[in-house]
């Protein structure tokens, strides 16, 4: 059976979609069969970040409503054949998703893929609950600031009480902390929480720290998930995340501000 991973946060704009795209593509590049599902009904972002927005014909809601088959709606990634995307609908029909019909789709996908990565909408309402309900694992995406940490804490409460695993009394959802948009310089200046602060508050295992990086915006605009930018800090950090998800132990990097070399210090570079 596939591992169902929800990328969630509570707060919006923290990097869930960016992370879903990078991690999904990264897992597929390692040879796994991966499907990325956009649960953000009405917004439809994931297909843009993946660069397949022009190939969307049918979507998640069409499948749910029986207007298309799963096969018709799944978009095969042009770069990696083992990766598919199930896009969200642009219609505002958020209520289309129910536990029952989402469960059916996930079950069908579970037989075909190794990983199902669910990109959650923001908030703690129905849409976000639907995205996390069937999860086996959760990547709790958090920015190093108080309000984002607080929202992640709330989501962790939901994972522990409102998910299928919680309701059935099964083994709890495996929780991972993904700290995104991390700026060691701003941490040192006391403007942001540090990795240790966030770990202390949320007390869940750290999966990765993604530095704040220009490469992310460039990647989104190009429709090429940032993990493909193997020269960038953010790309490398996402690669580490993928490797850790696959069980490797990898040291954390990009945690301290880069010390300027003697030359740039002398010449003010």
């Amino acid at each position: 059976m596939a591992r169902i991973i929800v990328v969630t946060s509570g707060k919006g704009g923290v990097g869930k979609t960016t992370s879903s795209a990078a991690i999904g593509l990264g897992l597929a590049l390692k040879g796994h069969k991966v499907v990325l599902i956009d649960f953000d009904i009405g917004l439809r972002n994931l297909d843009l970040i993946m660069g397949c927005e022009r190939r969307v014909v049918y979507d998640f809601v069409n499948v749910i409503n029986g207007e298309s088959t799963l096969n018709q709606a799944l978009i095969k990634d042009k770069r990696v054949s083992s990766l598919s995307i199930l896009p969200a609908s642009q219609t505002r029909d958020k209520d289309a998703l129910t536990k029952e019909n989402v469960g059916k789709v996930l079950e069908e996908l579970g037989g075909l893929y190794d990983f199902i990565v669910c990109d959650s909408p923001a908030g703690i309402e129905a849409g976000a609950m639907m995205a996390l309900y069937y999860a086996d694992e959760a990547i709790v995406t958090t920015n190093p600031e108080v309000s984002s940490v607080r929202d992640s804490d709330r989501i962790l409460g939901m994972l522990a009480s409102r998910s299928r695993r919680a309701e059935l009394g099964l083994e709890p959802i495996k929780e991972h902390l993904l700290l995104t948009r991390y700026s060691p310089k701003r941490v040192e200046e006391g403007e942001m929480l540090s990795v240790d602060d966030v770990k202390d508050i949320l007390s869940i295992p750290l999966l990765g720290v993604i530095p704040e990086s220009q490469a992310v915006l460039k990647a989104s605009n190009a429709g090429e998930p940032v993990i493909l930018d193997t020269e960038s800090d953010a790309g490398k950090a996402y690669q580490d995340v993928v490797d850790r998800l696959l069980g490797e132990t990898i040291e954390f990097r990009f945690l301290v501000a880069e010390k300027k070399g003697i030359f740039s210090r002398m010449f003010g570079g």
């Binding site: 703690i124 607080r150 804490d153 709330r154 962790l156 409460g157 522990a160 009480s161 202390d200 508050i201 007390s203």
Partner: protein, 239 residues
């Protein structure tokens, strides 16, 4: 078939009783404001019975009910040791009246926090010793979550997040950081205490006496416990 579709059965419940010592709505309101502010989530939608035996006929029942509902209690009925005429009058005006047994009224099933007295100092505090069992929770209590140990002590093996609330009728022990709200001795127990490995709470309350963060300065960030000396909260270091 039709017979099985519903069934009436008698069951006893412990309900919170609000004892009115005054019919003056302003005084009742003032008192409710302070009480509810101490533990808003705790009182939310709590079913409440109003005891009016200390009040004469001049009470405006509808106004009392409206006032109570304004604070998000669920009004259930009036009660009290009153004569037949007053009982009839209450029912005539469309309100339920429930009889209490003598034993109950003398023991005051009322939660002490909700006992309404005009003089705040006179709030009934239960002085008998409490031998509570422990309710043990493994894991962190997250923002938005609430846990209540009814007639028990509460032991949390983990931290209490900011935005979370832990309530016990007995003591509260947090084997972790206390960053949210902790309300011990919730039913009126002045010997209740709150222990934690790191004191960073938004609010601590014992038997209705509360502190907000700024009052915890002395032991902020340290292992500490909170207790009542006379009716003053005190914090001490936990070694």
């Amino acid at each position: 078939m039709a017979d099985a579709s519903i069934e009436f059965k008698g069951t006893s419940f412990t309900l919170s009783v609000l004892h009115l010592n005054t019919a003056r709505l302003v005084d009742i309101r003032t008192y409710l404001v302070t009480k509810v502010a101490q533990a808003p989530d705790f009182f939310h939608l709590v079913p409440i019975v109003v005891n009016i035996e200390k009040i004469d006929y001049s009470i405006d029942y509808q106004a009392v009910k409206t006032l109570i509902e304004e604070f998000n209690f669920t009004f259930v009925a009036f009660t009290g040791d009153v004569d037949k005429e007053q009982r009839a009058l209450i029912r005539e005006q469309g309100f339920s009246f429930v009889n209490t047994t003598k034993k109950d009224t003398s023991k005051k099933v009322a939660i002490a926090q909700e006992t309404l007295v005009t003089e705040a100092k006179a709030v009934a505090t239960t002085t008998e010793s409490h031998l509570y069992t422990d309710k043990v929770h493994h894991g962190q209590i997250r923002s938005g979550q609430q846990i209540y140990a009814k007639e028990q002590n509460l032991v949390i093996i983990g931290s209490v997040s900011a935005g979370a609330e832990v309530i016990a009728d007995g003591n509260i022990h947090v084997y972790g950081s206390l960053r949210g709200r902790a309300i011990a001795g919730a039913k009126g127990h002045h010997k209740a205490q709150i222990y934690c490995q790191k004191l960073e709470a938004e609010l601590v309350s014992i038997n209705g006496n509360y502190w907000l963060s700024e009052s915890m300065e002395q032991h902020w960030g340290s292992p500490a416990y909170i207790h009542l000396t006379d009716s003053e909260l005190t914090s001490s270091i936990l070694i």
